[in-house]
Assembly symmetry: D2
Homo-oligomer: 285 residues x 4
């Protein structure tokens, strides 16, 4: 699971066709690359193929040549590939509102090296979490939401994302619905944490909904955002038991841990190139 | 948790009033009863009080006198009480259709003494599970459902329940919706197992719904039935992780274990007098 | 996870060498076999390579030719391979004593097709579980243990295993220590369920040990047997929370469910060819 | 579970005697106190009684009179009681070495009010975590351990504990064995987190031990310290599944979350007066 510092990751997906595994593994072998972990999955209902390989390359491997040759090989399979060199750290923007637990948790994990990412900015519609971001040395942008001016605010958010070349946006309890346009711009690269076991309790105040319903389990769902509120492809979910003695504020308190763990797990999967979109579902290898 | 063979159980609930705990514990003390486990909970939002006490009574205690005196004491509190003598085994009717896993599990637990109940009948709209019931020496009633004659079929079901003085009906994967009338007749004494984490995936084929949604957890919910389909008060819920490689049939297979364990747990709580109705929720002490 | 009825399984392990993945996948591709799931793992500390592939073969594939050619290809890698054709059901012997829960659970899972195995015999040092075996139509052998005659009894056990060509022996709460000789004869093909979280609470009465220690979790461990009592390679472990109110008999009751689930899971992994020995540990792909 | 700001907590334990519940509940009723949660447990093997009550007191209750009268009432039962007024926050000293995850987690929970305690000092044998303590505004004491001078160092630790009237010492990954004398001075009020599922993998480097053993679950144990290393009464335990792909550094990473959650849970139980010593075990009400 942990990788040596010289480990590359190659992922790919394509329609289901004979030879998809072989085209990858044969190429790696010919290049003198040593496969340390390999996982492929063929979805027989969707007829889609997914593969993720970790490998060590021989000294002197030319990344450019490797990419060029690989592209040639996989072309007949309509395969999309992604190559991640050793030590690569994706740039990430985190969006928050007032609740700090997920931000606190993500920045800690970044700091100790558990989440290999570079958080280039924290963006919020409230000023509250600036000290926390600053303590970690990360730029904080306060973009307040004026009642009639969501498009302008979202334009500023998008400007931060694009100017920093962030490849991932984490909505770490950002309590605003994104516009359809922003959702579309961030498709496949924005992960939200919703504080319920979706599809149960979509929308506002899910813990209060859960209390009223009298459920005996509460959970959290990390998912890619899309145009449908709380309906994007699910990456992972966490859960804990509760009982009659949990008032809404107890569910909220218990939920904080689940949200942190579930979001961090999903982000980790993304950074390790384990997550693939598969229509409105995900494959996690 | 396990009880000595001379242990009684006393439960009660009432509006929240000063003195509700004391009226019970003082009475028990005066009667020379030794409390071995005591749990009370006051719901400060619903303003309802719930209590469950296990105790050992002195030799020669008159149950009739105990009940009469207790009734007098608690009268000022509008308290409803239930007293369960040592060794009492509730009579139970189990309803099934074709899937046998929950029935198989419940009858095994009864046989080894883990569920202290007397299953007086198994009722089904299909003949398939008769051999299983017979092997355990339990009468099996096949009441087929004719398209236009649900009322007649349900009348036969109710006749079995009432003539046997069953105090609990277990819907162990009974795949028919009960009429409003039967639901109402069985209110508070019929437990259903639904194969999803309610309120997610109500209704038919929840595992197929779960597959299409791409959830990463599946579960089961044991609940009292009421007039709203899959909406009755929840007693307990179970859950397991799944991934992209679980096709619908894999969810069904995985779900069988969760359903068995969740239903058996809920039935155990009921038999041990741990479950209280609290409007559309439950308190489990 | 579920497989179509025409799915083959190929597993292999070898020292870590460049080309191990490629030799398998290239051969499969050349044979026209379509890989539906592929998982390989290279243990960088042990320098051992493990691979498991599920694939669909083209019509008319000759198994004999496939095996012969595969053997030639992998020879340079000191690779041991195992090929499992579609629909193959391993023969299994189950050993029990008096506790019936694991046997009851395994035979049920066999009957509904969840464990694709043929139980050819149940062997016991006590006569108690004969009716259960008979109900499932499985031969039952009562081989009592005479104080000074363990070798003779074990010879009879081994005779059943070998004459039936059983490739797996399941010790489903068989409460006798096997001799070093029998352990050695069954190495890598006998799975035991121990009712504790090994390495905690080895030996007799683990639930009583757990009670005295005051642990807040109890569990079960499914492992291959070897010459060291309760020290063989672990396949999987299950766990549940407990509290101060669990007396030893409550731990035993709670443990039954964990034991059944943990043993069934381990047996399922074995039948699906997911388990590899890796010195005194296992790899489960 | 959450309490209104005017809630008191009363706990008590005594030998098992008729009248122990009644003496508490009758007294509370006479004082006009309203019980909101009540839990008692009688250990029938140890013959010890444990009780925990949350209640709201009438306006104007004199704490001194309440305590005096209570003491008189319970005297015949050899009962030890502890009364915790609303809003009481125990003083706590946290001991650490170099690993910061537990400290980071505990201070965060204190700051957001989830752990109602006042951390009066952080003590360490290393200087590394001073910035973290300082950021939270908490005094940090660096007491290095000189090879032959453990008694002097421990005297300084004890001086901090006693001069601050700390009633709880948390060993949040303090990587030194305490002397028998210090253990004895802190008995019943020092909680340690050990990074294994005790009694498995006592002592140093438990994750490396777990890796070598090939376990499929790793966990953490929060326990009171006593003179036997890693043998004190267990308060709570946490666990997660792992597999063959987890190298020791992966177990360490995964373990951090379990350690944080398990320790925070145990500290929460302590602060809420839920934990009772019961010989070498605990009762958690």
């Amino acid at each position: 699971m942990s990788r040596t510092p010289d480990t590359w990751i190659l992922t790919a997906h394509s329609p289901s066709l004979l030879g998809t595994v072989d085209v990858i593994t044969r190429f790696l072998c010919e290049q003198g690359c040593y496969v340390t972990e390999h996982h492929s999955f063929d979805d027989r209902l969707a007829c889609r193929f997914f593969i993720r390989v970790e490998f060590r390359a021989p000294a002197g491997l030319s990344e450019a040549d490797f990419r060029a040759e690989l592209a040639k090989r996989v072309a007949p399979f309509s395969m999309e590939t992604e190559l991640t060199p050793p030590g690569y750290r994706p740039k990430v923007v985190i969006m928050v509102s007032k609740a700090d637990h997920c931000l606190h948790d993500l920045l800690y994990r970044q700091r100790i090296g558990q989440l290999p990412m570079d958080v280039v900015a924290v963006v919020s519609n409230h000023p509250d979490l600036e000290p926390l971001a600053r303590w970690h040395g990360i730029p904080f942008h306060h973009f307040p939401l004026e009642p009639l001016d969501k498009p302008a605010q979202e334009a500023r958010v998008l400007e931060v994302v694009e100017s920093s070349s962030a490849e991932l946006v984490i909505l770490a309890r950002y309590m605003q619905v994104l516009s359809a346009e922003l959702c579309s711009r961030l498709e496949g690269r924005a992960i939200n944490i919703h504080h319920s076991l979706l599809p149960g309790f979509k929308g506002a105040k899910p813990y209060h909904q859960a209390y009223l319903k009298g459920v005996k389990l509460v959970g959290a769902t990390a998912h890619f955002i899309n145009n449908d509120l709380d309906e994007g492809p699910i990456i992972t979910q966490g859960v804990e038991t509760v009982d009659h003695a949990h008032y809404p504020e107890d569910l909220i308190a218990k939920g904080r841990d689940i949200e942190c763990l579930t979001l961090a797990k999903a982000v980790g999967y993304f950074l390790e190139r384990r997550v693939f979109l598969n229509a409105n579902r995900t494959v996690v290898l």
